[in-house]
Symmetry: C2
Subunit: 280 residues, 2 copies
């Protein structure tokens, strides 16, 4: 396997090569698999690799969600999946969606899990425990570290929309400022950092974009979660018309319940990519 | 194996039976294992079960930190460890320290991981994504859900100490209020909820205690992290002299680097338990 490059460079190359801002989320739920895969050993690997192979020329990133693998005792299949993607589709970065967050010594262990065991190119991280909980991830200079900022679920507002300080700044805006500035002295980690900002709040994507300059934004909430593509792209794109990893998982993975699931997934992925590109 | 009871009842029984507020943290770092375990297959299981067996009559809970298992590709040993504790020490609840936090459908998968796969009695959860990210955990009525509130690491202040709203409330206090009230309508989940509050800030433990009535507090930061036992117990104990799971990991686990590591761990665990009891 050839050496992996730096995350930010991988992402920029994939944006260009595939003319795509689409991130394909790999959330394998065996109960939703086509009948011919039900109960089959290795079905999670087979399902996810089929999706990856069918969409690799349409995506800027793949994002396996580790919870689905862990719930199914399928860590070995996650390892094999990421190895498969690196070998067959070396130009597409893999973001491990893990949303870990812990003190430094434990964060070091989680970083080993994500970057050494699974060989992910980037990982999602929760900012609640602050700067020193993020630094062990940033110690891997080639790897991406994508911090939760504004999430697309209903309860996302509970904490993230609290006003902090005097100026009416919301907590998620403060997180964006911390990530882009305080946790990124002299722009040292600009090639590694990114933020998660949900598609259900395009106005807030625009505010985050303004704060973080051209850091990449991972945007869940397209498709099953109902975000609006036009508003998302307009709010989040950089001057270069990139800067976004717009994630779709279920709408692509479960486009068909038949043996044609990968073909159907490819069709939805192509339509989603093209719908995104219409507004770049 | 006999059926597990409800977490809050297990914890109350263990407080009483062992006259202990000490939680023994199981953070197995193979590099720090005694020489005779180095490189041995199953060493993580052997090390952790030896610690558990040596301290089970001194502890109110065991807290395996999943990152250490995941970094070492040792999920099977974590499963076996928790099974061992349930079988040999059925009165001691097991808290899986995972600090997960994700949207509802993903949180359901993480809850399967923690409660069905690992059979943990409780889990730590990150509150950043809000109420609906916590509800799938609470759907397991027998299980404990312990939310991060104020963490003991230096960067804990970055977000948690932000002032929210007009009254000078800090974010961690708001989290305590949400957990105890908004996320706990009619006190429905009082038997399940708890909070993590670091020992390095006794004054803040006292403020959280005031807000959450007698919800259990998991308090890391004793020992290796330098928190003060007297101040912690005074700040956090309930009227009944309980309400706390005061965690110590490294000071107990690595009390000796020799073959006597379990004996040495027992000695430190006993001293820590007794030091805690002096102030109840």
């Amino acid at each position: 396997m050839k050496p992996r490059g730096k995350f930010r460079g991988q992402l920029a190359a994939a944006w260009q090569k595939n003319n795509s801002l689409l991130c394909v989320g790999l959330d394998p739920d065996p109960a939703r698999f086509p009948a011919h895969l039900q109960g089959k050993p290795g079905a999670i690997f087979d399902f996810c690799t089929a999706i990856a192979d069918a969409t690799a020329d349409l995506a800027c990133a793949f994002k396996p969600q580790i919870a689905y693998f862990a719930a199914n005792r399928a860590e070995d299949q996650l390892e094999a999946l990421i190895t498969h993607i690196h070998e067959k589709h070396p130009d597409i970065p893999v973001i491990l969606d893990a949303k870990r967050g812990d003190i430094g010594s434990t964060a070091e262990q989680y970083a080993i899990e994500a970057f050494e065991r699974y060989q992910a190119d980037a990982v999602t991280v929760n900012p609640y425990m602050g700067r020193d909980s993020v630094e062990p991830w940033l110690a891997y200079a080639d790897k991406g570290v994508i911090l939760l900022c504004r999430t697309s679920n209903p309860g996302g507002s509970d904490l993230q929309f609290q006003k902090v300080g005097a100026g009416g700044t919301a907590l998620f805006e403060l997180v964006a400022e911390m990530v882009a500035k305080d946790w990124n002295p002299d722009n040292k980690y600009a090639g590694q950092l990114g933020l998660v900002v949900g598609a259900t709040f395009p106005g807030e994507i625009a505010r985050v974009r303004k704060i973080v300059d051209d850091l990449p934004l991972l945007v869940p909430g397209i498709g099953a979660q109902g975000g609006d593509i036009e508003a998302t792209v307009n709010a989040g794109k950089t001057a270069a018309g990139t800067g976004l990893m717009i994630n779709s998982s279920r709408a692509i993975l479960y486009a068909s319940k038949g043996e044609d699931f990968a073909v159907a997934a490819r069709q939805v992925a192509r339509e989603t990519r093209d719908a995104i590109n219409r507004w770049r």
